[in-house]
Symmetry: C2
Subunit: 337 residues, 2 copies
């Protein structure tokens, strides 16, 4: 039985890309659950781009930033090991916002959902395709993108945890799926493993021309994870009445006030486009429905899961930085146990 808890704390805001200096790794005594609380041993930690925003040194959600010394915010899969809360039993598997640490106490308020293990669905998938990455893809594509069978769905960051699910859901729902990813290796995974109809390499020349060549009928849904210049270049490729779920602005997280303008915004009027920003939490009340479909698809092999897994909490900062640099394929996780 461990007696210590390992934690990663936020030390200081980066200028641009984060570095190891932005983090402190500390050991503290294992917390004990009070009345109504329970102790969780974390098994996997999810690393996600939104964490960069919370670190400041540029842009952050209004009022939602980290303060120095605070534990890094993050979602984990954990197992309840001690409990004084009647709703959570020893051995329960949960997903929640328990932070970058090996153990945590909770009163249940920061628990997202309970995992019911099932055949053919790996536990780690509940942080990815069957967890918030999957529901982010499902919510944005279904509720904002609203694709009709036969339409063309384009998604940026297509090799990532959200993008890879978007394209696969588009196929399941009868659409043509086109990805955008960085490099030939990622593009090969997007088409070969995730089964997209095509993938365009934004690191090669003429991205717009590449997309136009594989989307001869134009684009009906652009699931935008990137923003900035890429969005600007894609707006002219959209069909009238196209929908743009805006899921993130990867291109801008490290920009320090020097944001890329989008020149083609007038096409919002010309083409009667709908652009809508969203967070997974905006639709959390529909999480059960989305997770059920996603777990069915993973279990039946129709939704492929790809993960990049770092080993041990001490490697979380470097894995996080690698992910922001685009080194990961699919969901970036840290295995804690």
């Amino acid at each position: 039985m461990p007696t210590m808890n390992t934690q990663v704390l936020f030390r200081a805001a980066p200028a641009g890309m984060p570095t190891q200096d932005c983090f402190d790794i500390v050991e503290t005594p294992l917390p004990r659950p009070d009345d109504g609380q329970f102790l969780v041993e974390n098994l996997y930690l999810s690393l996600d781009p939104y964490m960069r925003m919370l670190m400041g040194g540029g842009w952050m959600f209004r009022g939602g930033g980290l303060t120095p010394g605070q534990i890094m915010v993050g979602r984990t899969i954990g197992r309840v090991t001690k409990t004084q809360n009647e709703n959570f039993a020893e051995g329960d598997l949960i997903v929640g916002g328990l932070g970058w640490q090996t153990h945590a106490v909770s009163d249940g308020g920061n628990i997202d959902f309970r995992i019911t293990p099932r055949d053919n669905v790996p536990l780690s998938a509940y942080l990815g395709a069957c967890g918030n990455s999957g529901t982010t893809a499902w919510f944005g594509l279904k509720l904002i993108g609203a694709p009709k069978p036969g339409e063309t769905v384009l998604v940026s960051a297509a090799a990532g945890s959200v993008g890879s699910v978007v394209g696969q859901l588009a196929k399941v729902w009868g659409c043509r799926a086109i990805g955008i990813a960085g490099g030939d290796e990622k593009c090969a995974v997007v088409t070969g493993e995730f089964g997209f109809d095509a993938c365009c390499n934004y690191k090669a020349d003429d991205l717009a021309g590449q997309i136009a060549a594989v989307a001869p009928n134009g684009v009906d849904v652009y699931f935008d994870n990137v923003g900035g210049e890429m969005l600007d270049g894609i707006l002219p490729l959209l069909n009238n009445y196209a929908r743009v779920p805006v899921c993130g602005v990867l291109s801008q997280y490290n920009a320090d006030g020097d944001w890329q303008g989008v020149r083609n915004t007038r096409l919002i009027f010309d083409k009667r486009l709908r652009l809508q920003g969203f967070l997974q939490s905006d639709f959390a009340d529909r999480g059960d429905v989305a997770r059920a479909e996603l777990a069915n698809l993973v279990g039946s092999g129709k939704l492929r899961v790809r993960e990049t897994v770092a080993e041990g909490l001490a490697n979380a900062p470097s894995a996080f930085i690698d992910m922001l640099n685009g080194a990961n394929m699919g969901k970036q996780l840290v295995k804690l146990r």
Copy 2:
């Protein structure tokens, strides 16, 4: 009984702002209705910014531009004077896309709706607050803006035919209404005559600061008629989950490829905004419902109508150019008869 029809033809695309040279005024023999057709005498012609787009020399709807020699596209109020169509009787008053001319034959296909005259609603209002300008405001505000009582609605081009209705509907529907207009004289009409809570002058300094001062709780709906830099400056003033019906890009109609970028598009994600472009025709199937409410409001004095009326078709080109320069107050019409 007249024997000739006066028409304004499109001669050539302007470079930037149109000039008189872009138009030809011609006389042709009065057309005669064939079987299934009827002859209309036009009483009023509506002049609208979208016509600039159809003239090319910059941006235009895909495939919808005018060709030289073609009659200028436009909507009129007319009276049926001869008929060989059983659905349209002599004396019927109609609104339709009959063009810049004193007379027209129609088979009914380009007729928008039939006017049922009523007390306290001037005939010309059916091209404005009770016609497509009004339904444009109603559709965009209600179906895209979806304002809740107590919310703050901001509208640009607030002294114009659409903007003036947007703010007045916002008030009727229980919202705070803030306008943006060019100059103190227009702002005085927006608050004094149209009853907005406040109006900001974009020709004076610090438009964003002016808006922030009169919208202490932020902006929930921005009804955008302008686009470009004004939209860019307003995005930071929007509340989370704000809606932006994009009804036009007045700032860009004369821009020849040199479009203004919008730097703050990343706020679409940050604030979970919804931006949606639309045309009146996208919601035409709900026109009857909207027109009924608008006519009731005009008839009962709750919706004020303001018009700028030029006399005679020969003055249509100059009135159109004046309107593009912002000289009109409210709906710009030409009285033909």
